[in-house]
Symmetry: D2
Subunit: 406 residues, 4 copies
Amino acid sequence: MTTPANTAPNPRRVGIWIIGALGSVSGTVALGLALADASTQSGMVTAMPPFAPLQLDSLSSFTVGGHDIRPGTLFDSVLLLHERSRLFTYQQLSQSQPTLEQWSANIRPGVILAANPTIVNMSDSRRVQAVATPRQAIAAIQADLQAFQRDQQLDQVVVVNLASTEPPFEAGDMHQSLELLQAQLDTTDRVILPTSSLYAYAAIDLGMPYVNFTPSTGSSLPALEELTRLRKTVVAGKDGKTGETLLKTALAPMFAQRNLQVLSWVGYNILGNRDGQVLHDPANKASKVKTKDAVLASILGYRPQSQVAIEYIESLDDWKTAWDHIHFEGFLGTKMVMQLTWQGADSILAAPLVLDLARLTLFAQRRGEVGILSHLACFFKSPMGSNVHELARQWQLLEAYLASCV
Amino acid sequence: MTTPANTAPNPRRVGIWIIGALGSVSGTVALGLALADASTQSGMVTAMPPFAPLQLDSLSSFTVGGHDIRPGTLFDSVLLLHERSRLFTYQQLSQSQPTLEQWSANIRPGVILAANPTIVNMSDSRRVQAVATPRQAIAAIQADLQAFQRDQQLDQVVVVNLASTEPPFEAGDMHQSLELLQAQLDTTDRVILPTSSLYAYAAIDLGMPYVNFTPSTGSSLPALEELTRLRKTVVAGKDGKTGETLLKTALAPMFAQRNLQVLSWVGYNILGNRDGQVLHDPANKASKVKTKDAVLASILGYRPQSQVAIEYIESLDDWKTAWDHIHFEGFLGTKMVMQLTWQGADSILAAPLVLDLARLTLFAQRRGEVGILSHLACFFKSPMGSNVHELARQWQLLEAYLASCV
Amino acid sequence: MTTPANTAPNPRRVGIWIIGALGSVSGTVALGLALADASTQSGMVTAMPPFAPLQLDSLSSFTVGGHDIRPGTLFDSVLLLHERSRLFTYQQLSQSQPTLEQWSANIRPGVILAANPTIVNMSDSRRVQAVATPRQAIAAIQADLQAFQRDQQLDQVVVVNLASTEPPFEAGDMHQSLELLQAQLDTTDRVILPTSSLYAYAAIDLGMPYVNFTPSTGSSLPALEELTRLRKTVVAGKDGKTGETLLKTALAPMFAQRNLQVLSWVGYNILGNRDGQVLHDPANKASKVKTKDAVLASILGYRPQSQVAIEYIESLDDWKTAWDHIHFEGFLGTKMVMQLTWQGADSILAAPLVLDLARLTLFAQRRGEVGILSHLACFFKSPMGSNVHELARQWQLLEAYLASCV
Amino acid sequence: MTTPANTAPNPRRVGIWIIGALGSVSGTVALGLALADASTQSGMVTAMPPFAPLQLDSLSSFTVGGHDIRPGTLFDSVLLLHERSRLFTYQQLSQSQPTLEQWSANIRPGVILAANPTIVNMSDSRRVQAVATPRQAIAAIQADLQAFQRDQQLDQVVVVNLASTEPPFEAGDMHQSLELLQAQLDTTDRVILPTSSLYAYAAIDLGMPYVNFTPSTGSSLPALEELTRLRKTVVAGKDGKTGETLLKTALAPMFAQRNLQVLSWVGYNILGNRDGQVLHDPANKASKVKTKDAVLASILGYRPQSQVAIEYIESLDDWKTAWDHIHFEGFLGTKMVMQLTWQGADSILAAPLVLDLARLTLFAQRRGEVGILSHLACFFKSPMGSNVHELARQWQLLEAYLASCV
């Protein structure tokens, strides 16, 4: 492992390129990077002492860029969050404003080829690069990525998908090998790759680490895994585990270890941010509910009646609130109840994990790792390369990795 | 290890002797043993497949006896629980009645030397064996234990403390070695051992396994550990982990592993059974709150503001209800909230764990183990012989033990 | 008003005829009437002192009969509730069994003409009186009602609809007058009246008081109101207010009176009894959600974002659980939150109100009242003859009625 | 009644003088008055249409002054609230700053004669006017009040007590008549009046309306009622009803009106502002718990087991959180549960009610009313001059008053 030259005259400079750069999570990531003060340590896993020996990139070595299909600036995003959800203090806002305005110049119009109607309705035509074929889309994205790295003089760039959730995508034969997929890249008459996968292709093909923080397809196709290995880069995903599912994977083992039969586990989620709005489209919602529901059966070893509802409640904005009702049976058939409510600011929970993933994927690539980073399972609802859902066991995977690095 | 002769013409017969035999947990233990049907599998850890290879004593091989300072029968106890807390169905009650009435004949008056006033007020003078010295107390208890084993023709007897919580006891010099302690056993002018330790002494001295399911002192004195080794028996304790603390040890690691700073963790417990009534005496309550509160700092590595209140609310009877409010800080200093409520029937949660501990200590003794069984940490709020509080890690200790046995 | 001759040699005998006689609410009503002891006073509004001067029919003067499309007895119903939901004690069950078995003989097969598929699937063909026209249906029902009154020698009979919720029914021109409706009673080729209205017609036409405890149409058609006045009887409805809606009508005025703007009111209901099962059919569910949602706008004077979800969770059986999340805005635009959970046994909440309504409608008819009893608004989610939803104001309507009676 | 000359060249100017002027509620009151924009309408009862005909003083006609024993400015108070509790937006803060700084010049050092140790510890010696006798204290306070009215050219001044809660004060013979009390005003050797009553005396004696928003004694002594009538002014109190008690008085009637027996009502309140800190002193806490607990018995007509705990949890700051567990018995002795959690910002809830009370007492005095304003019962936990606790009935008292004014 090459030690980053923190004290050298030319310190490392790295970039984080965000797909969906003007969303709430992205704004919060950028604000955190712009501040890079003590308040950014809470909630960031890699800020904890066991990670110190890795000498991960410091927050102040990051520059932000990205794609979005909406107009606006990073500061606009965080100011709106402040007003609607009472996130961030005045001091944080005023202190970060200059840097956020500067980084906003790095945001490029999104590339749209196969987006779904809800997404298209939210977009602004002046903020879209219209392309005709997958190959053109990939080329357009890559041009933006390369310009960012060159203009900002960055040693490494990680690409993170924070765009709105897509509907589920059914992979076919052509996605099983890179050769078959590449043969179709000039197709114009049907959708051969979801938008998230076009961005993933573009990033991976340039040898950049790629993180999928959403339940969309992204890099999770055999053809793109092949490309990942070919370009000697790393990927991690998918669907950041920030709220109700995090709780489930911490709590469900308790019921298993006490032999308390879970009769039903009902989860009701309400939220009011753009993520919630996109979920109003039933097709988009399906992706989300699917990844949320699989976890339980995997941990318990049986499938209790379960219900995962997500509703868009505008007034909540970023304050995602979940009620879980767990009905379980104990000795002599007695039914008992546990209820919990979770009130978390979605962006505040997600942003530090995005930074963790950026730092750990950049580190892994520098270290020469290739492919899916399965030791990052604890960050995801649907961990790629791992069947482990139990939080405690996922944590041990990460601890083992740390031990192997030092 | 000697394999229990499950198919032999004379199957093993074992006894469980309960201190506090007419309490709610004890009644539920007895009802479960009397039924020994499918409904007794839920909530019992040792009923799970990984324990099958150990060939633990089957529920139907148990006979029940015990001490209590109140009059009544085991069936009275469960009927009262049914009427006040709606536990047990009519079928369960009517089916178990004959066996419960029969076992009630094995219950002997309690031995009182140094009990505190609240306990004394609850006792019935006809149900007390008054003794003058610790030595006499131990002898009286031992006479009852030996008669039980002899009359019921039992291969092994385990003694379990389910009596009401005592006030904290401060150990002194004389408790540091068996020799020093034994020299004081004829003292009449002051309390040299709490009641729970008199029973523990009696049991251990007869070479019987001893389980302390309460926060009282029991066997947790160096002198009694010495006796345990001398008599080649095993002990486990203390304070069964059945409700709010169980949850804490499952959930607190999640906050640690996400680097979410717990600002305050407030727990408010209400319950209406005899356990709650005893806690009305502030001295008794102190023991309970103490063991509940230590867990958090141990898991988090720091001490958030925490509050553990326990109140006696008569109408709840056995339905122990806990509200926990967890205030935590995430990225950029944002405060977020998780709340949970737990509605568990105390006896229903505790009884199967008592059976687990009875089976596992009997097994360990047969296997030739001696001393504190630290692999049973997952069953206790204050595990003896272990500093591990995190539920997932405690579980791994038990898994490792299982692996070592087969 | 004629004073009921409580002390006369031949005391009054009254009957309650229940549509849906083998459901959980009906079983609980019957068990309460069979016991008629102190435990039946809780939850029954008319058991309170202010109602004493009315000399309502005592519980012991009631005989139970009814229609159902399923086989079984009243005792079967309550035993199943006991086993699945832990309602009733053994003493209550054993004491009421003889009376319940005797009343079960009064239960007649249901009459089906236009029921919806979910209901039909639940029915047992041997428990159905198949009829070809509305007129035949009404005649068949009336024959059963008359036989009940005659055989049991009853002074008065009240008919209560406790059958499963029907899909919404759209009234047409023919339902605007009794003459127009009667002209269609021999129609065979389409549904002119929902099942609930056939029963209502039959009862009202015999001059019997009719109570609709469900959201189904029942007597709420102008033609049936005309018939009510013609036959000099009384009706009350509809949709018993037992849980979440009761809470809303008690709590929402608080927000109005403090000028706290309700931004969103989300209610999530889970239940596992037959009522819940019927709601699985989206058409049936629509009726329920509709009456639940109207209440809020009526009280607040504006329409906050609201969401009322109802899900069938089998393990809950009769324990209807609701979570409400109320997001409101206070001074300076600050958003605040109130959450509540309600864990009520549906049958236990409904049954005493059914008895209240039976007693108050029988009383009103004896007193010579005619038509819709609007002073009973506090019992219903969609009170007939009243726009008042606020619980406190509904209560004052009832108090005013009491004052007018004495 | 004199109509306020809203359109006259010299509009009315009024003052609000706050005892405890640098607390959170006071800061929020001042910020609201400084803004006087649309965001100040929510949560203020008198902003609702039915109050329009009264032509109450507009928010922009108010000037703020007060006493406090701590240093600092109004802007300091609100900025601290913003940082710790995330109240107020940047825009609100920056817009109100100039006015708040200007009003801070009107804040005078507090007068201390008989305060308790906790209060004294919180005070800054430079911010205290030390006096030797009650008469001197009253004179010092009056000098400040008169200077405020004169310097700011105010038509009317209302004095509001928002200071920290005092321990309960036992009234004696001397408090039964003004004559007896006045005879003691030069006493130096013992406490004859609590601090809150010294301020109340001073205000009332000058003919100024006095509002006691705390549970302290204030004007609630017969001698001070006599003074109120003598000086032809008005008083209202005591203990603003902003959170858990508000809920109780809205919800408890529901249980009464359904004849559901409340078995136990447990309330657990946690908060982290100065109010909470003061409650750490058990003597101060007693006042608070006392007024909170009386309400239930008054509404239900019986006294269920009840528990009201208040704990200081620093991290919560102004976000007062309450958990209520209501255990109630329905038909056939079935126990059911309702739970609620309330998360309200204490200052945000209290401040608009303070403005309501200021406006309504100024109005009443102008109208010629004298004495205790019992129609303001809905604003208080312990309404002076009224036994009505039920929120709906309190509201009707206010409605009746409105009707009588127009």
